[in-house]
Each structure stands twice: as structure tokens, then as C-alpha cells.
Amino acid sequence: MSRFYLALGGLAVAGAVVLFLLIRQPAGAARAARDAPVAVVDDDFRGYTLGSDAAPVEVTEYSDFECPFCASFAAVQMPTIKQQLIATGKARWRYRDFPLPSHQYSRFAAHAAQCAGEQGKFWEMHDQLFYNHSWAQTGKNPAGLFRDFARAAGVDPARYDACMDSGRYAARIEFSRQEGDQRLVDGTPTFFVNGERLRSTSYGSDVFKHIVDSLAARRK
């Protein structure tokens, strides 16, 4: 019996040590890029949109640029959604930031997208960040890579750098996250269709097509 308790105690100590090593944060990580700002300001901004203002259905997506599931959705499902629903005027898509606390560079990426948005290139930067998502797996500071993405998105690098240095959209991003909290967003991506939270076991483009078509038919 005592050998068992010795083994159990040894396992507990070993487990605690391994856990400590796993959760230890690397020194010098870009804390400023990931920390939430102290002051949160509502600047009346409610997210970039894609599609016609006259579209009968609006889908709001709460997303995180570092989230792999969001990247997969953007790369695999969004092209079809753009083609079948947005380009046809059936739906309008609204993007809201919901940076998860577990992600080191989510806020930084969201800020990069906002800085590109300032130059009218939000969706181009959105695609760059999601289509080239390997940056999220390395754990390395992606500042240089994001600058390359911005350039590829057609953004003026000097203005982008000034925007990133200023951090002027950090409060806006935090406002969006808090808005998500109020709407009980608990993971990413989370979708609302005409204000109603979408609950589905799958977020394929066919699900959105079915919902948008049925809502549009109901309005006729």
C-alpha cells in the first residue's frame, strides 16, 4: 500500500512540474500586442461589412485571427458564401473581433487588420491573415510577417507602420470583444443571423445558404 502512495505522490509532483513547464510563458513575448487596453471607447464602429446594405439577411461573425477554426472557415467556406450569398445580394457579412485570451497575437492581428481597414483594405488583410495562417502556429512575433501581408494587401507600408505604432484601434477591438461577451459569445467563430445566434453542429456554406434562403423566402 505504501508503495502505491509513494507512486501516487511521485506522479503528482511530476505532473505539477510538467504542468508548470508547459504553462510558463516565454520571456519577452509581445505583451503590449496582446494585452487589452485599459480604456475602452465606443467610436460607433460596428465592424467591417461585405455585401449590399439592402441585403435582407445580415450575418455577424465574431472571430479571432489566431483561431485555426476561424482560418479554416475563412479559407474553405467563405469563398462559396461570398459567391452564393454575398455577391448575389442575399446576405451581408459583418466581421467583429473577438480575440480569445489564450491567443498571444490575436489582438495584434486584429489591429493589423484595422490598420489595413483604415486604408480601405480590411478584407484583403483579413484574407492575408487567414489564408497564410502558419504564422499562428510558430509562436514567433509576427510583426514583420504582418507587414508583408499588409504590403500584399495593397496597404501603404508607412501609414500602416504609423497606425500599428499608435495602437489607436486597441480600444475599438476591446469594445468589440466586450460586445461579444454581452452577447454570450464563448468561442470562435460564433455567428448571429439577423441578430439570432446560430447554433449548428456544422458551419458549412450549405448551412448558411439554407438559412439565408429560408429567411429571404419568409420575407417575400
Binding site: F4, G15, I23, P68, S102, G187, T201
Partner: protein, 145 residues
């Protein structure tokens, strides 16, 4: 006695795995050490929450309860009693059912495999196997007349 010891050891391993995933989920663990993007995909998906609570937290509580019941069952006054074996089998079956559901989600809905989740699934399967085996031996369940 041996089966309760085995369950206690396995539950402790599972407890640390679940604790790590829960720490990650609440932002205490930084980046998930995984080797592939699968863990992030699974842990940031909408299915990493159940009734508004991170799934990993259910694991933390579940393994802690399994460990506690196994340790109580190892007290000299309870060694000969069959109650702890029954409780362990019940808890392990519930945990195993949840594990099957989560593995299904990984394979067929999320389309990503989280290595830590696989580790937890193996631990829970082991606990369930030991618990059911002990139940059969002590209660004669499923052994026929």
C-alpha cells in the same frame, strides 16, 4: 484493491491533462504545446464549451472526483466494500460516454485531432476498462448465473 489503485493513478494523469487544457482555455497557459494545429483548432472551436463552461473544466472535476472516490475506496475500512466499485464504474461510464462524443466531434465535425484530448480519451478508456472489469468481478455483472 488493485483496480482502485490503477484508477487513482490514471485519474491523476487525466486530471493534469484536463487541468492543462483548462488553463489554456482561461488564458493561463499561453500557447498550447501540441506539435500540430489540431489542439488549437479543437480548443478554440465552439464545441470546446458545454453549457457555457469549458469542456476541459468538466474533465478537471470528473478526474478529481474519480481520484477522490478511488482514494476513499482504498481506505482500510472500505476495502472490502463494493459500493466504491459501483460508483467508480458509474462515473467512468459517464466519462467514457462523454469521451466518445468528444472524439466523434473531433473526427467528424471539427475535422481536427487534439493530441491532449486523445491522451485524455486513452486515460478515460483505461479507467472505464478497469472499472468495468472490477465491477464484473465484484458484482458478477454480465457473468451469467
Amino acid at each position: 484493491m488493485r483496480h482502485r489503485q490503477a484508477i487513482a493513478l490514471l485519474a491523476l494523469v487525466g486530471f493534469f491533462v484536463a487541468l492543462y487544457l483548462w488553463f489554456y482555455k482561461i488564458g493561463l497557459a499561453g500557447e498550447l504545446k501540441c506539435g500540430t494545429g489540431g489542439c488549437e483548432t479543437v480548443q478554440t472551436s465552439p464545441w470546446a464549451q458545454l453549457l457555457g463552461v469549458p469542456v476541459a473544466f468538466y474533465g478537471v472535476v470528473g478526474y478529481a472526483v474519480l481520484l477522490a472516490v478511488a482514494l476513499v475506496g482504498l481506505q482500510p475500512s472500505r476495502l472490502g466494500r463494493r459500493g466504491p466499485t459501483l460508483v467508480l464504474a458509474g462515473l467512468a461510464t459517464a466519462g467514457f460516454a462523454l469521451t466518445l462524443w468528444l472524439t466523434y466531434l473531433e473526427l467528424f465535425v471539427i475535422h481536427a485531432i487534439c493530441r491532449w484530448c486523445v491522451g485524455s480519451a486513452l486515460v478515460m478508456t483505461g479507467i472505464w476498462g478497469v472499472a468495468v472489469h472490477a465491477l464484473k468481478r465484484e458484482w458478477g455483472v454480465g457473468s451469467g448465473p
